[in-house]
């Protein structure tokens, strides 16, 4: 079939080729997007990787980032999938508004999210104060706060992806399963989730990548303490002052993770047809 492929560097089969100005602007736009990433790769101190990666600050940040982003992913799946189910399968008054609220963190500046998290779960927060008075537990400046901040910004990505996936699962499949005697849990476990798996996997990858890259809400709500709340993005920010080479290395690691996620999701984002 390869001989049927259109020749390279021509316009696609449908539509008229765009004007030259658009092509030039498009190339400039592409350069703007790609140059920083290429430059970052070039500046990464490859010869010193071994020594930098064992730097305690880098190691601690790496470990904390992995653990906290995976924890945020688990929380997002446990809470986000049911929420997506509710959004996809139930109608209730004010649903568009409720739905918009739930995915708002996707477009909210993360720092604002961090301030909101302080207002809710801080020591003087709406929930945080009664919690502290009742149990003595305070969340800010803890690794739990890192997970909460990451979940706050990342879970909406899972919710929207899974909800879109659920809408593509034929609800009549659930009817068919019900007439065959399957109860709701069995239907969810044996019919809906397997049919949903590609969307769930995509949502999990997006969610995890977002959690791993989280900065603004984390530094605002969880603070910055190496080993406890200093994740990789925070380390990049502070190491840039003290040890720029380490900052470049961590940045490159984060870039590599993002590329890996994009490749894993190639069917969703990289396919042009």
């Amino acid at each position: 079939m390869t001989d049927l492929a259109p020749p390279r560097a021509t316009s696609t089969s449908s539509g008229v080729a765009p004007p030259r100005t658009a092509i030039v602007l498009g190339v400039v736009g592409f350069a703007l997007l790609v140059l920083p990433l290429v430059s970052l790769t070039l500046r990464t101190p490859w010869t010193r990787v071994g020594e930098l990666i064992t730097d305690p600050v880098v190691l601690q940040a790496l470990r904390l980032s992995l653990v906290s982003s995976l924890a945020a992913l688990v929380v997002s799946v446990v809470l986000g999938v049911p929420l997506a189910l509710v959004f996809a399968r139930y109608d209730f008054p004010g649903k568009p508004f409720v739905r918009a609220l739930a995915v708002l963190p996707m477009v909210l500046p993360p720092v604002v999210g961090g301030v909101g998290l302080l207002a809710a779960f801080g020591r003087r927060g709406l929930v945080g104060q009664p919690l502290a008075e009742a149990t003595g537990i305070t969340l800010p400046f803890t690794s739990a706060a890192v997970v909460i901040a990451a979940t706050f910004v990342a879970m909406p990505f899972l919710i929207v992806t899974v909800e879109a996936g659920l809408r593509m699962v034929d609800p009549r499949l659930e009817d068919a399963a019900a007439t065959l005697g399957a109860d709701r849990w069995t239907i969810l476990r044996r019919v809906v989730l397997p049919a949903l798996w590609p969307s769930l996997a995509a949502g999990m990858a997006l969610c995890w990548a977002r959690a791993l890259g989280e900065f603004g809400a984390t530094i605002t709500f969880a603070g910055n303490l190496p080993g406890r709340t200093q994740t990789m993005p925070l380390a990049v920010y502070l190491e840039l002052e003290r040890n720029p080479e380490a900052a470049y290395l961590i940045s490159f690691l984060l870039l590599a993770v993002s590329v890996a996620v994009l490749v894993a999701l190639r069917d969703r984002f990289l396919r042009t047809t």
Partner: protein, 390 residues
């Protein structure tokens, strides 16, 4: 009036009170006996869904196949979903195998899981991630049958539908006909008290449809419980069903054996379905006055004057280049409006005092040199006109 419309099923499997499923399907009177008698299906329900207002009473005896026919939007699938328990009813009750599974007044509502209803859906709706075997075993597993036993029984069922070699195949790799057979095996494997089929052949191509229909016929014969078959294909209905229920706009228009529907359809839709010319009119002796004012002479006189339905088979409509002489007492001039050519048969749509469709052979079309706009003469023998009181 019209006892023909209430013909009981031709099978004499036992006494049934299905005769109460009268045309119009209105609510029963309070004094009627409960419909749950017998081991079959007894449905008398009302519900609203969007613009649709469904008011239906249908019964089916064990072993009987009842086809529900109707145009799109008539409420066929809604009826099926209500019986399966996928949609609550607002009025009436549903009994399956002598057990009341839903009674709106009494607040009884058995879940779909507990109804013992096997359903074959329009687009097979197999579970894409499970093999054919696991699809068929699904219902057994869900009902607590141990894995090994469920697989064994599922294997048997796949063998029975002729798919013993496709045990491990995923639905995506099955042909349309195979998938629909797996869906049938899946529905039957749980040994349901009632089988519901929603346009089971609609998604198949013509050749596959023929093959699957024959197989389906065999399995329906083997099935001991009542079967409700939803379809818009008259051939499918006549071939598979013992009785036809014509559903239009949420109401039963006719409930009769296929032969009766084919000869005396009670609605224009059903007449078109069986390919008949269909009119409303008034009979007085040997003369029929149609709603348009045109008159027709008929051979058998009406018992008494009154409103009638009239049917003329297109093959009984003869066409002549000039005014014919002799026996036919009904002749008129008409203009050809359109020609539908199917294989060697041509349906000629004619405009005139009585709009009518004639069916002629392709060679006749050539001999008469007919085209759209041609003018010719139409003749219908009085003996070919079927009429019966409304």
């Amino acid at each position: 009036m019209s006892e023909v419309d209430r013909d009981p099923a031709p099978r004499a499997d036992g006494p049934r009170d299905g005769v109460t499923a009268g045309a119009g399907g209105g609510p029963r009177g309070a004094g009627d006996p409960p419909a749950a008698g017998g081991d079959g299906l007894s449905v008398d329900l009302g519900l609203r869904l969007g613009a649709l207002e469904l008011e239906v009473a249908i019964d089916a005896a064990p072993g009987e196949v009842v086809a529900v026919l109707g145009p799109n939007g008539a409420g066929k699938t809604t009826l099926l979903r209500a019986i399966a328990g996928l949609l609550p009813i607002e009025r009436g009750r549903i009994a399956i195998g002598g057990r009341v599974v839903e009674d709106a007044a009494a607040g009884v509502r058995v879940t779909p899981q507990q109804r013992s209803v096997g359903v074959v859906f329009q687009q097979h709706l197999l579970f894409g991630h499970l093999s054919a075997l696991e699809n068929v075993a699904f219902g057994l597993r869900a009902r607590g049958v141990p894995r090994r036993e469920a697989r064994g029984r599922a294997r048997d069922w796949l063998g029975r539908v002729g798919l013993g070699g496709e045990v491990q195949t995923k639905p995506g790799a099955l042909s349309g006909g195979q998938a629909q057979r797996v869906a049938l095996a899946r529905a039957l494997a749980t040994d349901p008290a009632l089988l519901l089929l929603d346009e089971p052949l609609a998604a198949l191509d013509v050749d596959t449809r023929r093959a699957v229909r024959q197989q389906l016929r065999r399995h329906l014969d083997d099935f001991a419980g009542p079967v409700l078959l939803i379809t818009h294909e008259p051939l499918e209905a006549i071939n598979l069903a013992d009785r036809l229920v014509i559903l239009e706009q949420g109401h039963v228009v006719q409930d009769a054996p296929p032969a009766v529907v084919a000869r005396r359809p009670r609605s224009a839709w059903a007449a078109r379905l069986v390919g008949l010319n269909h009119y409303r009119g008034r009979a007085d002796g040997h003369e029929l006055t149609l709603a348009s004012g045109a008159t027709l002479a008929v051979a058998d006189a009406a018992d008494r004057p009154g409103d009638v339905l009239v049917a003329i088979h297109p093959r009984a409509v003869a066409l002549f280049p000039s005014q014919p002489e002799g026996t036919p007492r009904n002749t008129w001039r008409a203009t050809i409006d359109a020609l539908d050519i199917h294989d060697d048969q041509v349906r000629v749509h004619l405009d005139g005092p009585i709009p009518i469709v004639a069916q002629i052979t392709a060679s006749a079309l050539a001999e008469l040199a007919l085209t759209e706009g041609s003018t010719l003469w139409v003749a219908v023998k009085a003996t070919e006109i079927e009429h019966w009181p409304v």
